[in-house]
Symmetry: C2
Subunit: 462 residues, 2 copies
């Protein structure tokens, strides 16, 4: 048989969210056993209904011939028809043509307006978002990949990432051949970040000859689910300023805050011009959960000048986007709908608000419900203000010679619950965790949690 | 201002299809001047209508609530409703959830059936396609990137690409830091490929210590538009066998053959097991032209074993697909529709066949029309059996000290015709070309071509 050498950086990539535990779950399902896929933040796979308004509009955008017909039938609300008509007027070439590489301009303008309204930035002011520095992407992953591919030349370039972290970052740094520089948020203090927690690994990397170029912050956290406090965010900005780092702010869970305060890094930066910020958002999470549509955006602020050229970092990202031609148009239009929503004071708006609130209330209730069972599990603790779609409990001591991988595999076999073990995201040496997405229907959670409690206490010998 | 060092491989990427000429066209448009975008194969941007059936089904998939309602209204044909229902039964989680990393299994099975039917391979035979070796992708670009990222470790690894070529390949090889090994199809013989044309650069690269790992073939060609003959394809297979190369077959224009014979590389390989083949297809071209939906697939055949591991090359691609979570679901479903089409002997099928034939006839007529004007242009010649969506005329001698870039810029300014100059794709030293996508409405072609003829003869001083 033919053999081939393969890029070792690609081979080194690890992606536990799609790793051996979910693979085992797939095998079990193929054998007719029922499993509960809590390994991934994929709400619609667990029965969450899409926001009706989004789909009504997308359905019309795909088949514009319907617009006139539906005016006559009256089966689609007039405000939805109006919105779809307005979109198709601006997206002149429809869903079937390549757009500009950065995405439809009207969508990027709407994203800029959304960011400004969210952050209370006066449009046109120094703090306002710039549509020309916004790139629509196929989910947030695409934007993160552009940034890391551009920043990393080789092992001499380092990227600070929190541990635990979403493995997109470690995998992409590995693929690009860069150096992962790990910093450890303080679990017992709700996953907050102290100055020293970043400074120590940063200086150690610098001493080792690594040029640290950026710091990744995921807020609300993934896998921790924890919402970061403003003091931590201020520390990150200060250190970024002092050490010439860009901030890569993964803010895809910004709607999943369940009544807690949340602020964007753009807002923390305010008028400051001296810290480059790259922030990511996506249609996959929030109350929309439109993972399959692969929509999102990357916003650049204070882009650096590229050494040895007359280019800005924005130009480099545009170059990368050009090679990919354009992000998918349906994801682009869904991003538009995400950042704009139906017009105020319409019937469609009322339904949208109801659906929105119901999804968020339900997610919050499910998180609280799961977390309430942790107190019955010997040695289990869970920290942080609940955000995102995940809980990341610390499991306490496990039987000698075993780790959280064995625990999660056993949990899967005995209860059908498919989670991802802490080691898949990284964790402090000697600790054990798992990440569970709080997405299954409440009824199912009620059923499975007592079985998990029973399993846990038996497994750890409590 | 902050400065940053950037990966020189990313900086080195060039992508003329979205380069200075189209950028100048965008400026002209912003000034209210009309331009004709023939720089890119983007049919729906030039008024080509989507295939109704595709959009009717996608529209229902986006808004499944309509299924029942439309049964009652009768405004959507029953066979379309049946197909959308059947798709949603198989795509159980709908358009809004992440799918398997490789894409919906039922779509990959349909792709395998399509390949087998196309290549007259008995399903279940050694020649049959394997759904587990098919990856759905966001357009063909994503699949090409996976393969090149995996194959290329650094400058020690070479990839043979035809010159001229679609700059996705040169750009991605540059980004991965690999060595581009250029081979030159014979323009005057209709862009056919001789054994020596490949062997010479291949051996030269090997002598220079480069391990050549794969050969890219684009058939029908881009930018040449030429359909490759079977003899050339046999040569490629033989050389691949002798030198242990994988074949990367970009076959996205396989429907754009306008009555000429076309065979796939899978079909040329037949039962052979000793040459790895990676073939690409896409919803962007053909008679569908659904560029914006970013759908496509990568099929692997005879995957190599990965040195030093127990993995096959398919496992490596799966790893990469996992990090990206999944291709967009709408593009996946469109890929399904592309490879299956409406059921035979239905009204929908009849309309589909009519639309299909009309698009292809129209494209062919437009290509022939444009080409007929070349004979009036002093020194211009155009070779090859017309395929794809492009003509790539050789311009003959240009004014001293100028190249095809200046020609195309001037052509744009004087006629509004936006093309891409030959240097953007690579070309034999001392020759000048341009690529024109034969997509504008016929009326517009009739109007602009005499102006191009006039421009050309004046410009070259004929």
């Amino acid at each position: 048989m033919h053999t081939v050498s393969v890029n070792p950086h690609v081979l080194r990539m690890e992606y536990a969210v799609r790793g051996p535990i979910p693979q085992r779950a797939a095998e079990m399902q193929a054998q007719g056993r029922s499993t509960i896929p809590c390994n991934i933040g994929n709400p619609q796979a667990l029965g969450q209904q899409p926001i009706s308004y989004y789909r009504q509009v997308l359905s019309l955008v795909e088949d514009p011939m319907r617009l006139e017909r539906e005016r006559a039938t009256g089966s689609v609300p007039a405000d939805v028809l109006d919105e779809a008509t307005a979109i198709l007027e601006r997206a002149r070439t429809g869903a079937g043509a390549y757009t500009e590489s950065a995405g439809f301009r009207f969508v990027r303008e709407a994203v800029a307006r959304f960011i400004d309204a969210r952050d209370q930035a006066e449009p046109g002011s120094a703090r306002a978002a710039d549509p020309d520095a916004i790139f629509l992407t196929d989910g947030a992953s695409g934007g993160a990949a552009y940034v890391l591919e551009a920043l990393i030349r080789g092992p001499e370039d380092g990227i600070l990432i929190p541990i635990p972290q979403y493995p997109l970052y470690s995998a992409t740094i590995a693929r690009c051949g860069g150096t992962q520089v790990s910093y450890y948020p303080d679990e017992d203090r709700g996953w907050t970040v102290s100055r020293d927690a970043i400074l120590e690994p940063l200086e150690a990397a610098e001493r080792a000859g690594v040029q640290v170029k950026a710091i990744v912050v995921i807020n609300p956290g993934n896998p921790t689910g924890a919402i970061l406090d403003e003091t931590s965010m201020q520390q990150v900005v200060e250190l970024a300023r002092e050490h010439g780092l860009a901030i890569i702010a993964d803010e895809v869970y910004q709607e999943n805050t369940y009544g807690h305060d949340w602020v964007s890094f753009a807002s923390i930066l305010g008028d400051a011009r001296d810290v480059p910020l790259l922030s990511l958002h996506s249609v996959s999470k929030g109350f929309y959960g439109e993972c399959g549509h692969r929509g999102g955006y990357l916003e650049l602020r204070n882009p650096a000048r590229v050494e040895g050229t007359d280019l800005s970092f924005t130009d480099v990202i545009l170059k990368q986007a050009s090679v990919n031609l354009c992000p998918n148009t349906v994801g682009q239009i869904l991003t538009y709908l995400m950042v704009s929503g139906p017009r105020e004071a319409t019937g469609t708006r009322r339904i949208y608000e109801q659906e929105r609130q119901q999804v968020l209330d339900d997610l919050h209730a499910k998180a609280t419900l799961i977390r309430s069972f942790f107190s019955e599990m010997s040695g289990v603790e869970c920290f942080g203000r609940i955000g995102a779609m995940y809980l990341f409990p610390r499991l306490g001591p496990l039987p000698a010679g075993t780790g959280d991988f064995e625990y999660c595999m056993r949990l899967l076999e005995e209860t059908g619950l498919c989670t991802v073990n802490g080691a898949g995201f990284g964790q402090r040496q000697g600790t054990h965790h798992l990440r569970i997405a709080f997405l299954p229907p409440r009824q199912l959670i009620q059923e499975v949690m007592p079985r998990w409690v029973e399993f846990h206490n038996r497994y750890v010998g409590a």
